[in-house]
Point group: C2
Chain length 237, copies 2
């Protein structure tokens, strides 16, 4: 119900707009997603797009949210295909899946993760659809790590080694990590930090100067950072 002919048509147009925007993104990079260019792609005049988005920024924001959701769904699917896979294997699936998605869709990856702008000029940034989608994406990792912890707790550094300040910060995040202790959160954060940095550098070509193909390096690193979480699945041959 409520799917009257007009609403249906509108939803289709919105989808076409985002599809055109994505096409432009892929072929010409982030800067190519022009409002006029999108309109041209659909055979419309530029002002027509304002019936669907209040600004160019909102249009790009909607595309960002869509891409986050697509990535999140793809990673969830990947984990659920191997029902038999244990939680550790799922983390490797997630890590490899994120990398593969980034390498397969570098333009989209750059839009999502390239220079998230430390602009404090937008105080309502938290309410952006893109930001919310990013949070949903981040939860994927946090929840899986928490599950791994409760399934097979891994050894973690004692509080004294981390220092009081860091322990205090990490403990505040404990509720988001299923009540894990500071040291375990520290290891999880290390995992995410290393994985994220590694993938960004590879996708953005900042590893080319030393490694034309970073696949082997990535696998070695992934194995290494998985060890810290008590995982020992895919040894590099």
């Amino acid at each position: 119900m409520a799917e009257s002919g007009r609403e249906q048509r509108r939803a289709a147009t919105v989808a076409e707009i985002k599809a055109a925007a994505r096409r432009l993104l892929i072929s010409g990079g982030t800067a190519a997603i022009g409002l006029r260019a999108v309109a041209r792609e659909l055979g419309l005049t530029p002002p027509a797009l304002y019936r669907y988005y209040p600004s160019h920024e909102a249009l790009v924001g909607a595309l960002i949210a869509d891409l986050y959701d697509e990535l999140t769904a793809a990673l969830m699917d990947l984990q659920n295909t191997d029902e038999a896979a244990d939680l550790g294997a799922r983390l490797y699936l997630l890590a490899n899946g994120l990398r593969d998605w980034g390498l397969a869709n570098p333009a989209e990856f750059a839009l999502l993760f390239g220079t998230a702008v430390p602009s404090p000029d937008a105080p309502d940034h938290e309410e952006t659809v893109g930001h919310q989608a990013a949070m949903r994406f981040g939860s994927l990792f946090k929840e899986l790590v928490a599950q791994i912890w409760h399934w097979q707790p891994f050894p973690y550094p004692p509080d004294e080694q981390l220092g009081v300040e860091l322990v205090e910060h990490l403990t505040q995040e404990s509720e988001h990590f299923g009540g894990m202790p500071a040291g375990a959160i520290y290891l999880s954060l290390t995992f995410w930090t290393r994985l994220y940095g590694l993938i960004c550098m590879e996708v953005f070509g900042q590893l080319h100067w030393v490694l034309p193909d970073a696949t082997a390096y990535f696998e070695a690193q992934l194995y290494e950072i998985g060890l810290a979480l008590g995982l020992d699945c895919p040894a590099p041959e």
Copy 2:
């Protein structure tokens, strides 16, 4: 000689242009470095800038090269102030110096290291002044690591652990690392990868959602990745 009044005046104007561009960068981010905005800042008309740079892109490129050189010089100074510091301590100075520079100059840092665009559309990218300055910056790290290796060789993973493919890639870079073996280059690359990723994430605010102040986390991580290179300087209290 050859520093006639006209050339002197020209050099001064070039400096003013880049200073104005940097001012705009700081106050309004990368997108604020407009050609017209720079001209406005100097009290000139836009076409006048074309006497100094062939395009807006070239102007920004010159600024990028300048910033790389400034950063490189700052890090070299930092290392040379403590003449007594051993090579290991210098690496920590370099790492902390890079982080401090990024936190103190986030806009400049974003211009240099934010989304280096995996665009294969510019085949002559290698000849850019910015690219050359980036290489000089990269040499800082490579040379220091090679010095550390020859000063105090650290244990490194055997070739069998890395896999033949990765060893082959790393060995090709051996000449740039003072003849270090593959495993030692691997550890050095790991150091750089983790350091770079960590600083980028902190400066770009991608750690805020879990750590409002990442100082303690950075110090713990730096200590950790220094251990792999046989360094054991600044234990976190």
